[in-house]
Symmetry: C2
Subunit: 253 residues, 2 copies
């Protein structure tokens, strides 16, 4: 059994606590949180600490805090040669204090506190300075997920940018769709089967094969009708830019 | 049993033929196609015609052709007072020749020939000039789908614009994600659970509640790192514009 301590109490930390509670391969020793009440429903009171000097030596310390705080938190850990990892897609492994053995444990998923996650299908991207530590991380990752990747910091940065496109930006397009529906007395639910099918299609087709719509067909009449319909400046600009990108992309193929 | 004839042999026509073949409420009488070979695997040879003068009188003629051809095809139908509908999201009902009773039968879904569709969950948006014809369309629609909406032409235009955002544009963002992965020796499959979860989240959360990421957090350090990483002009512009739109949208809430 691998002894793990978690620093943080946000979305990622809470989902990790829940995932660790469902495996016998990991013993969650402590959770460090400056707001103990945010994790009080997930772990016993005696496991929650908010003083770095109370940290116990464990096999692995996972820092799951906002990106800007990772480096400073790693400086506060009162150990040397301890395996310490962070969970961020966009922070280099080297941001962690070099007095400890460093690594990254990046679960590639969009976490909201209000929605449960099936961690078994969440890809976990691992990086370490040495192979022994990789084995430790891999054991912990395999205890909670079936999908493990070894990737370096440069690839992780690329992956995080790609994730912003396929998740954060996609969700924003959903929001625009909802706004257009609401403004026209239409139930947003009418779009949900389309949203599901669009996501499902790329499980079997490449995005290039799956592309449909007026931009793909270079149907300038429909495109102009849509642009005339849109009155919100952001929506109009986004429509123009994505249409141009789809058309130019089609020319490259 | 309602007797239906279909004009067209593209994606929508083929999926409709398959859906009608699975119900006893609809008898598919004829399929008009200028390329009979494209539907030869779906209907008997004697049902396929390519001469408008061979059209039989039926309860309903569905025109499922590209938008630009709808009006001209409707002129070719050698009947009067026949119920004739088109399947387009972006063409007004009035584009159909006024010598016949007009309507719209718009299945709101992204159809690819290479992927089967569960028509039962496809919303079908109906519009007619009179209530009797609405009942006919509704009977046909209910025979193949569980989700029927009555919407007018103006709402349908709004819905089609919204569909472009949540489907066509979303798929293009998937393609950008795939490109970034490929350029960095990453398997695009690593992003697929994230894509699925992003689509699943809005079944239970509003898009505003589901929004995550650096733009939402106004994390300018990560945003600048991502912009410095991107070298493709389209990708960079899309990143900037959608980030700005998410930030401005957050200020409105």
């Amino acid at each position: 059994m691998i002894r793990v301590t978690l620093i943080g109490s946000g979305n990622v930390a809470q989902h990790l606590i829940q995932a660790f509670s469902q495996t016998t391969a990991v013993e969650l020793v402590q959770v460090f949180s400056r707001q103990p009440e945010t994790v009080a429903h997930l772990v016993s009171a005696h496991q929650i600490i908010s003083d770095f000097n109370k940290l116990q030596k464990v096999d692995l310390i996972i820092i799951a805090v906002i990106d800007d705080a990772i480096s400073e938190v790693s400086n506060q850990i009162p150990f040397e040669n301890q395996l310490v990892v962070h969970t961020s897609g966009s922070v280099a492994m080297e941001a962690l204090n070099a007095k400890n053995r460093r690594g990254v444990f990046y679960p590639l998923q969009t976490f909201s506190k209000a929605k449960a996650i099936n961690f078994k299908v969440v890809p976990i991207c691992l990086e370490t300075e040495n192979d022994g530590d990789y084995n430790t991380l891999e054991t912990v990752a395999k205890a909670i997920s079936n999908v493990i990747y070894r990737i370096n910091s440069e690839q992780r940065k690329a992956l995080h940018v790609a994730a912003v496109f396929v998740s954060n930006f996609v969700n924003h397009l959903y929001q625009i769709g909802e706004t257009i529906c609401t403004e026209n007395q239409l139930d947003f639910a009418i779009l949900k089967p389309l949203i599901q099918e669009t996501a499902d299609k790329i499980l079997t087709l490449s995005p290039a094969e799956a592309q449909t719509g007026p931009a793909k067909r270079q149907d300038s009449q429909t495109i102009n009708t849509h642009l005339a319909f849109l009155t919100d400046d952001h929506q109009k600009e986004i429509y123009k830019l994505l249409t141009k990108s789809i058309i130019d992309n089609g020319k490259k193929l």
